[in-house]
Amino acid sequence: MIRLTIDNKAIEVAEGTTVLDAAKMLNIEIPTLCHHPKLTPFGGCRLCIVEVKGVPRPLTSCTTPVSEGMEVATSTPALEDLRKTLLELILSDHPNDCMICEKAGDCTLQELAYFYGIRENRFEGERRIYEKKDGNPFIERDMGKCILCGRCVKVCDEIQGVGAIDFAYRGFKSKICPTFEKDLDCEFCGQCVAVCPTGALTGKMWQLRGRQKDINAIDTTCSYCGTGCNITLHVRNNKVVRVTSKENTWNEGWLCVKGRFGYSFINSPDRLKKPLIRIAPKESIKGSKGQSLKNSDTLTLGRSDTCDFSAIFREASWDEALDYIAAKLKEIKERSGADSIAGLSSARCTTEENYLFQKFIRAAVGTNNVDHCARL
């Protein structure tokens, strides 16, 4: 264990702890922009600087490990003055766009600018301007707002293992971009969006749907797969406008493209909310313009824009549907034997549901013909 004092408060922490983490344990707040607790330290924004007795220049607390007898000061007039310069420099190369920025209200940079009372800027000058080119439906990149904190690069590399983006160029022209500055073409997991402290990376479908403060946050579980990531639905006017995940969940706040961006089904007019029972044979299905459908077209069966399914299906209650299925299964089993039946369950079910399903197929139907669409 290492003993040190931070702002005259003594603390004992494990070797290897950073000064920033030790300060956190003492509830001492140090401003940060590039640091992310789950990623390796970067040390680029320089806001977390502290003074250490005996060291001539300020050190970044997010990168500096504690050492025995260290005496740390986190807020002195000199440090606060430096932080103000740093923020002014960042803002001198930043669009004054908070008014309509998707991130306003949830933006670390905006918050720091507020706390440091930055309005006039001594360092006004050239700003980076980037053309927008992303054709993907998920991620909006407004790189003029990027502060080059490197979090997106690190999350993509260290957590996602993809490495779709990195730093390019030097000096003031440095920027984050995909290989050869091509259009972003990756997994679109949106982890980069989740860790971006500014409005440089946002969800395309979030745009102008509601600020962070205007929403009802509802914690739930992602229904896409058996992993069961904890997600938070941001609901406004009874519509989901955004999905996030909290850092203190078992999935540590990380999500995949489906959990993060695949929520449009919730309010889709095509969403099935009740069981349907077929009332006409498959061959009688006509396209929305009355044409007969080829086999391949039935893949899109059920989408209201491709065919008129009210002529083929009717809505039913769960009781009616289940009775109907039970009767049919019995009938098939009696006619052709249990092994003529097979059960295939879904990756979107929970473990418990899958357990019950195989139990039902084995014990109730009486066959071992049971499988699952994914083996996570």
């Binding site: 330290p41 970067f42 040390g43 680029g44 924004c45 320089r46 600087i49 220049r57 300020p58 050190l59 970044t60 990168t63 500096t64 490990p65 000199a78 003055d81 430096l82 310069t85 740093l86 420099l89 960042i90 001198s92 190369d93 001594r122 360092f123 000058g125 050239e126 502060i147 080059l148 490197g150 990195d166 730093f167 160029y169 030097r170 000096g171 003031f172 022209k173 440095s174």
Partner: protein, 592 residues
């Protein structure tokens, strides 16, 4: 005919080759053959290339040594060779017309050569030439008969400090690495040398690569490393080629590889080419680059001696630092520490450039007064104009004004006056240099080479450049000089690596010593008449002959005047290109 003990040495550094060194060497070969003494050449006459000897301005330099008598010729061209061979080599009468003059000898008189002692005298591509001068003896002695701690003791006692910029005691660095228990350690030679105008490390590798290799072997043995890298910039093709040859020759002789000198010690060196980023000379960025990542520095601690390349203890030393090592082991710590000052021992190589008569590569004892470098070695200012300042330490350094010319050149003294020894660039400035413009030039370089990682350097240097840019364009505002000072101080305090921490130095030191020049710019005048936007060109009535040369040269048609009558420049049309100034034979065009 028999010629005894004749040696011909042709300068074939990058400067020598550019001046035609290869052709001169071919001419000698052909001439000796034609004179019918070719057969004897093999046995009795030795001709070989040598690396840079410093005074590149006089290349091609050729030494002809007959019976131990050395004569040096300057500006040698292939067509001069036949006369040298005939009169000097055959008839034994040196060609007096072409022999170097006093300035060549004065250039060398106050120098003290340790690192460069063999540069310019031995053939850098011949391992036997290095061995003949006791080469690799230091490594043999150390590996076969000294404990690592004793070698480190010697290096510590010698007082050797890093020549790559920071001046960190080499022995202390090695000791820290030696004490690490890790099985894998690395020894890296930093040959990235990216400062504009610096060519010390290049000359050492081109002129005597084996000294660097031997230094690395000794270092590796001391810290317990079996793997080394030379990180060298790809823009140094000749140095890379000679280094590669030297490495394979050393390997062939068993100085590198497994079981060196019959001991259990193994060590080998890989060459890693840099891709031309100044910041990759910074040790943590260099490590990232070797690891195949973008060359961006990381915060220290941990220092590389604890966690360096691939997380292993790593020593990084500069080329010149390492090239000192074999000479220290051969001659002893005391010999080395007898040169220099109390805290800065030994010598330092500088690249002397700018408005100086003898520009070139020099090696001087630490602590030599700047004045002696400028006036005795450098021969004074070109055109005997007045010296204004000397910029040391390249883009990370500062300027020393003429009135402080007696400042001793060593780590402490230069730091005291607000500059640094740095890696050894030394640019001499005269009254025609604008200090604001000079600071802007260096800042432009650092700003462009910033890696972009940290805010103060990435954005701060850009803002500095914008502010100083408007000052040199006559658009400066009241308070701009103070703003430069404030922002510079903040960038220095808050930047992550040495690049940002030193980038404002040229600005701060020029403001410190030449504040009046900044003030003058704010008032719309460039005292040295350099900053284009602040200049006005005019024609002096008393000198103008009305020849019309300026009128014809002016691309903007700003000049009017009839033949043989006084001409006139219309300042509203003039684009300040200076064509009239350059073309007037009568010095009738003035600028201010």
């Amino acid at each position: 005919m028999k010629i005894n003990n004749t040696v011909i040495k042709v300068c074939m550094g990058t400067g020598g080759i550019a001046a035609g060194g290869s052709e001169v060497m071919d001419a000698f070969r052909a001439e000796l053959k034609a004179s019918g003494i070719e057969a004897a050449v093999e046995k009795n006459c030795l001709m070989h290339k040598v690396g840079c000897r410093g005074l590149c301005a006089k290349d091609v330099l050729v030494d002809v040594i007959v019976k131990g008598q050395k004569t040096t010729y300057q500006y040698v061209k292939p067509e001069m060779v036949s006369r040298i061979v005939k009169e000097h080599i055959i008839e034994k009468n040196p060609v007096a017309d072409w022999v170097v003059g006093d300035d060549y000898h004065n250039f060398h008189k106050k120098q003290l050569k340790v690192v460069l002692s063999d540069c310019g005298s031995i053939d850098p591509e011949d391992i036997d030439a290095y061995i003949a001068g006791n080469g690799y003896e230091a490594a043999r002695k150390v590996i076969t008969s000294s404990a690592p701690a004793d070698v480190i003791g010697t290096i510590k006692a010698s007082g050797l400090r890093g020549r790559g910029g920071a001046g960190f005691p080499t022995g202390v660095k090695w000791e820290a690495a030696m004490k690490q228990s890790s099985k894998q350690k690395y020894m890296i030679c930093n040959a990235d040398e990216g400062d504009p105008g610096a060519f010390m490390d290049r000359s050492v590798i081109e002129g005597n690569p084996h000294a660097v290799i031997e230094g690395m072997i000794i270092g590796a043995y001391s810290i317990g490393s079996d793997k080394g890298y030379v990180y060298i910039r790809a823009e140094y093709p000749l140095a890379v080629e000679r280094l590669r040859k030297a490495l394979s020759d050393a390997r062939a002789r068993g100085f590198l590889g497994k079981g060196i000198f019959g001991t259990k010690f193994s060590f080998d060196i890989k060459v890693k080419l840099g891709a031309g980023a100044f910041v990759c000379g910074e040790e943590t960025a260099l490590i990232a680059s070797i690891e195949g990542q973008r060359g961006m520095p990381r915060a220290k601690p941990p220092f590389p001696v604890y966690s360096g390349l691939w997380g292993k203890p790593t020593v990084i030393n500069n080329v010149e630092t390492l090239a000192n090592v074999p000479y220290i082991i051969r001659n002893g710590a005391q010999w080395f520490s007898s040169f220099g000052t109390e805290k800065s021992k030994g010598t330092k190589v500088f690249a002397l450039t700018g408005k100086i008569k003898n520009s070139g590569l020099i090696e001087v004892p630490m602590g030599i007064p700047l004045r002696e470098i400028i006036y005795d070695i450098g021969g004074g200012i070109e055109g005997n104009r007045a010296l204004k300042a000397v910029q040391t330490g390249g883009p990370s350094g500062g300027c020393i004004p003429a009135e402080m010319l007696d400042t001793p050149v060593d780590f402490e003294s230069l730091a005291k006056v607000g500059s640094i020894v740095g890696s050894g660039g030394m640019v001499v400035l005269d009254e025609d240099n604008c200090m604001v413009n000079m600071a802007q030039y260096f800042l432009q370089f650092t700003q462009m080479e910033s890696c972009g990682k940290c805010v103060p350097c990435r954005i701060g240097t850009k803002r500095l450049l914008e502010i100083i840019g408007r000052i040199t364009k006559g658009k400066g505002k009241e308070g701009d000089v103070e703003l430069l000072e404030k922002l510079s101080a903040d960038i220095k305090a808050a930047s992550l690596c040495g690049l940002g921490q030193t980038a404002p130095n040229p600005i701060l030191s020029t403001i410190k010593y030449f504040r009046d020049e900044y003030e003058a710019h704010l008032k719309g005048k460039c005292p040295a008449a350099v900053c284009k936007e602040l200049l006005t060109y005019y024609i002096l009535e008393e000198f103008c002959k009305g020849c019309g040369a300026c009128l014809r040269a002016c691309p903007a048609k700003a000049i009017t005047g009839e033949k043989k009558k006084l001409h006139k420049i219309d300042p509203a049309v003039c684009i300040k290109c200076g064509a009239c100034f350059d073309v007037c034979k009568f010095k009738a065009v003035g600028k201010e």
